[in-house]
Amino acid sequence: MLEIRQQYSLYGVILYVASTIYIVYASMHQPENQVWNGLFWIVQLFVCVNAVAKAFLQESRGRMLYFYSIAGAKDFVISKLIFNLLLMLVMSLLSLGVFIILLGNPFEFFWKFVGICCLGGISLSLVFTFLAAIAAKAQQQAALMAIMGFPIIIPQLMLLMKISEIAFSAVVQEGLWQMIFLLVGLDIMVIALAVILFPFLWKD
């Protein structure tokens, strides 16, 4: 895959994670819980745009043709989804680590947040993989990613921020499982749509 061939792009993302969080730290030091939560998910969003968008945008035409000849559209998109999912999982946990080192550890229930963080990373990576596949076909790809991605991702981010409140203190969240099921349902919907619709994007 691309990231192994172009290792500098992987290191680039890691550096991006570290420097973004450092800037957040430099401007906020150790913020309150709610601010911490909000900042964390916004940083996740930008990391995801940077890491996952590369999946399709930086593949050259020739290489796409090569993939086309060795694999079917469905296998290709599923492998992309899985790869980006793992990549984003690593990035989420990495940024969680850096966040705790720099901005402090505000959690009462740390492992709950790790779980939510994984779920969030998965959701973000799936949506952006599919959008990157669409945007790769158009011009001005980076701008399009933002235009298409941000409205679509807002509901997910709002859900994630709400769910993660349970990790900060022992509050009783109303409809917690409902929200988690909704998030998982959204993920499944995105996977299904990607698998069904990608073959139409593929042929050129």
Partner: protein, 225 residues
């Protein structure tokens, strides 16, 4: 002529009825909170019914296009989405005007306002996406794919998420609330105006779209000889 355009005449009559009876019909005065602003029901709510109908037609044509590419299905799909987006924007605006009098501000970040805004923004992105491609065939194909995706995103944004949060919006008391209004609450006299207005506005949307489709088809013919 009557046989072909009876529904246009029907739309005209229903909208005339809505625009007169909507202002004249007897409304119940419950506790002095809603007062006359309830009449917005005949103009704001039908916009969402109309938008949903137009988006459903649009996504059906997007699926038809992907199964059997042809410029006809593409034009239908785009134009229905365009009118649907306009209806959605009008729904937001009429809602905001109402909210200014009822809630004290045009925008108060109510879950229902946010959800609807996101839904409309997703459809705006559809037009930006189409605009960014030059090749007609590619534009239609990628546009259809995104259209289907956008349609499925309507469900969380306007049907599910707003139900989960507390809202001031009529009919939305907490998680058991309906996304829009509670139909059972309507006074019978208002129901007699409300449903005709829904049908009237939706027919008007379809009418506008068919005009746009005829215009685009002619334009295509002229451009390609």
């Amino acid at each position: 002529m009557i046989r072909h355009s009876w529904w246009k005449i029907l739309a005209f009559i229903l909208l005339m009825y809505t625009c007169t009876m909507g202002f004249l019909v007897e409304i119940p005065k419950l506790d002095g909170r809603l007062q006359e602003t309830i009449r917005n029901l005949f103009f704001h709510v039908p916009m969402w019914f109309g938008m949903m109908t137009l988006f459903i037609v649009s996504v059906v044509y997007a699926v038809i296009y992907l199964n059997k590419p042809g410029s006809k299905a593409d034009i239908y799909s785009v134009e229905y989405a365009r009118t649907g987006t306009i209806f959605g924007s009008l729904g937001l605006i009429t809602g905001a005007i109402w909210a200014n009098y009822q809630w004290g501000a045009f925008w108060s970040s109510d879950p229902k306002q946010n959800g609807a805004l996101i839904a409309v923004l997703i459809y705006f992105a559809y037009f930006v996406l189409r605009g960014s491609m030059n090749d007609d065939e590619k534009k239609a194909r990628i546009g259809a794919v995104y259209n289907i995706f956008a349609f499925f995103m309507l469900f969380p944004t306007i049907w599910i998420l707003p139900r989960l949060a507390e809202s001031l919006h009529p009919g939305g008391q907490g998680s058991e609330g309906n996304p829009g209004l509670n139909g059972g609450d309507l006074a019978p006299s208002m129901r007699l105006v409300f449903w005709p207005s829904v049908i009237g506005w939706t027919l008007l949307g379809v009418w506008i779209t068919t005009l746009r489709i005829r215009f685009r088809t002619l334009q295509n013919k002229l451009m390609h000889g």
